[in-house]
């Protein structure tokens, strides 16, 4: 391989990127980072596992077996069994379903609310902007963990309440980002052209402004998944999130509060912890990679 040949290959690649669509070139830049790509694949595997393993496994999450308690990993029970003789392999993936599912629902709802209110605040400005931003400021000054504990503790452990409290505090972050972007986009010439053409406000916001902030929303959502997983599992671990017997990665670690489980039965509490760690790390790295790919100015 001569240097000249390498150079030709490079030129070809650059040319290729310039021909791609916006999202095509984002993915082109994203793919160049091996770490981000690796994490994207790992994340996909975890998600697929959480969807399909509970369907194809011969065990069920609730079937208990007193004769088969606290068994270490074996061929029939790949991750062993817990104190009620339930198969931990399927509980691991079922817990992942709940943890990832809650995170997804929370992030989607908070993005929808945050984007709509952020757009309204940024587009209309004045009094409505002041009101929305003041509410955001109040929500962002809440003591996050303590407030979640308070609400879930008072209203009882249930998934809808957990989702409600996480969304309630979470939408302010994305609303502020969207508002900031809209504020600067609003002043551009093409928006003036929109106004001159007599396009309605709603169309101007959602058709002409929103696509330009979508990239920021996607990055926020990816990194948001990571932080919601962390908070949900921490609350469930404290017994103030999802209540057993519904498994989540958080409450599956709870038995480790007992000395005997912590010291001798690693297969009960280590796998869910690793599950949380891996999925949070994947979302963090993919989110960072996406941010660098979307905004090449930030790239180092």
């Amino acid at each position: 391989m001569s240097n000249a040949e390498n150079a030709v290959v490079k030129v070809k690649k650059v040319k290729k990127e310039s021909e791609l669509s916006y999202w095509g070139s984002v993915f082109f830049r994203f793919r160049k980072k091996k770490m981000s790509m690796f994490c994207l694949i790992l994340m996909t595997l975890i998600v697929l596992g959480c969807i399909f393993v509970p369907i194809i496994s011969p065990h069920t999450i609730t079937s208990t077996n007193v004769a088969n308690m606290n068994q270490p990993p074996s061929m029939t029970h790949i991750l062993g069994t817990d104190e009620l003789g339930r198969d931990l392999f399927i509980r691991f993936f079922h817990g992942g379903r709940i943890s990832l599912g809650i995170a997804l629902v929370v992030v989607v709802i908070e993005c929808v609310i945050g984007v709509i209110l952020g757009c309204i605040a940024g587009f209309y400005g004045k009094l409505i902007d002041t009101i929305i931003m003041r509410i955001c400021e109040i929500l962002m000054s809440f003591p996050f963990i303590m407030f979640c504990i308070t609400v879930v503790g008072i209203f009882g452990n249930s998934i809808p309440i957990l989702i409600f409290v996480l969304v309630f505090l979470g939408w302010a972050g994305i609303a502020r980002i969207v508002r900031g972007q809209i504020l600067s986009l609003r002043e551009l010439e093409y928006m003036e052209a929109c106004e001159a053409l007599g396009i309605s406000d709603i169309k101007r916001i959602f058709k002409h402004l929103l696509p330009n902030v979508l990239a920021y929303v996607i990055v926020f959502a990816t990194l948001g998944m990571a932080s919601v997983i962390l908070v949900e599992t921490a609350l469930s671990f404290l017994g103030l999130g999802v209540a057993p017997p519904t498994p989540t990665w958080g409450n599956m670690i709870q038995p480790a509060n007992q000395f005997i489980v912590l010291s001798t039965r690693w297969w009960i509490w280590v796998p869910p912890g690793v599950g949380i760690f891996l999925s949070v790390m994947c979302f963090n790295i993919v989110g960072d990679g996406l941010r660098d790919a979307i905004d090449p100015k930030m790239k180092r």
């Binding site: 003041r134 000054s141 809440f142 003591p143 103030l240 670690i253």
Partner: protein, 321 residues
């Protein structure tokens, strides 16, 4: 500058009131309260009224909020429903424990995170940089309660280097104050690492990116062109500007520390604010819940204010009016 501080202080007031109103509303909407624990279905109505009176529940919610607010501003946080003792008396011994833990964790993060960030930035893409970056990613992604359990398993159960639980051994009578402090520090080593881990990773990431930005600026090139040694360039010239964003992070880090303390305290069985608050939530002891939540909200607001002021103090280019 002075008008700016006064204006910021005044801005805190509506936000703080907003938070307390929302908290109060949520508590008001909740089914039952601590007095429910004392009510027997067979009680006569007058007995129930007597219990409601004793807990200060006979007024309408609207009035009770203002009573609470007035008392709080005078430093009276009310009576704990569970213990029938003033909330201030219950929380007072907890605060030093939590603050000690938070301060230790903060120092741990700063002492490890910032130098690691500087090393990373000055040797970009070297082996040291890459491994430190991986470490910081792990630090951000590892759930603190799981990390705490791993540390307990390895260093408290396997190695037996550190105690498993609490902040002091009830059977141990320290001969002097120094030994007592050392005894407590020994108990706080693992909690400090767990609580400080997130901060270490975050400070490292911010230091690295901010230093990288500064190192590429013109005045650093000038300093190098003058023939200054690399040490002087980095530690005298680059560091001063590079650390400005980190200083602003300090204030914002206060709420994260307090939130993390809640989780850390419950893993390590440390009798601090966090554990008390969780107990209070489980018992629906509303005066304690209100007190802890508003205290943490106040700290959050204070943290943001401190950030802005530190920013202004550290960077003379910033002008406030």
């Amino acid at each position: 500058m002075r008008t700016y501080i006064i204006r910021r202080l005044l801005q805190i007031i509506p936000v703080f009131l907003g938070i307390t109103v929302i908290l109060f509303l949520i508590i008001e909407l909740s089914p039952g309260d601590a007095s429910t624990n004392f009510i027997d279905p067979r009680m006569r109505p007058e007995q129930r009224a007597e219990i409601a009176r004793r807990f200060g529940l006979e007024e309408p919610a609207f009035n009770r909020y203002f009573i609470w607010l007035g008392n709080t501003l005078r430093g009276d946080l009310g009576m704990s429903m569970r213990y029938q003792r003033p909330v201030t008396e219950i929380l007072a011994p907890m605060i030093p424990t939590t603050l000690t833990l938070a301060l230790l964790a903060f120092l741990f993060s700063v002492i490890i995170g910032i130098p690691a960030g500087i090393i990373s930035a000055t040797r970009q893409y070297s082996l040291a940089d890459n491994s430190l970056t991986v470490f910081s990613l792990i630090g951000i992604s590892l759930p603190s309660f799981f990390f705490g359990l791993i540390l307990l398993r390895i260093f408290a159960i396997q190695m037996q280097w550190f105690p498993l639980f609490g902040i002091r051994n009830p059977l141990y009578a320290p001969p002097n104050a120094l030994a007592g402090a050392m005894h407590m520090l020994h108990h706080l080593v693992l909690p400090m690492i767990v609580l400080g881990m997130g901060g270490t990773a975050t400070f490292m990431r911010y230091t690295r990116s901010s230093m990288l930005e500064v190192i590429r600026s013109d005045y650093i090139r000038t300093a190098r062109a003058k023939g200054l040694s690399e040490k002087v360039v980095i530690y005298r010239h680059a560091l001063r500007n590079g650390l400005i964003p980190i200083i602003t992070l300090f204030g914002f880090w206060i709420p994260s520390l307090m939130g993390g303390a809640v989780i850390t305290e419950s893993i390590f069985g440390i009798p601090g604010l966090g554990r008390t608050a969780i107990d209070a939530v489980n018992f629906r002891d509303f005066p304690i819940i209100m007190a802890v939540n508003s205290m943490l909200a106040f700290l959050t607001l204070l943290g943001a204010l401190i950030s802005d002021l530190l920013y202004a103090a550290a960077d003379p280019r910033i002008k406030y009016d």
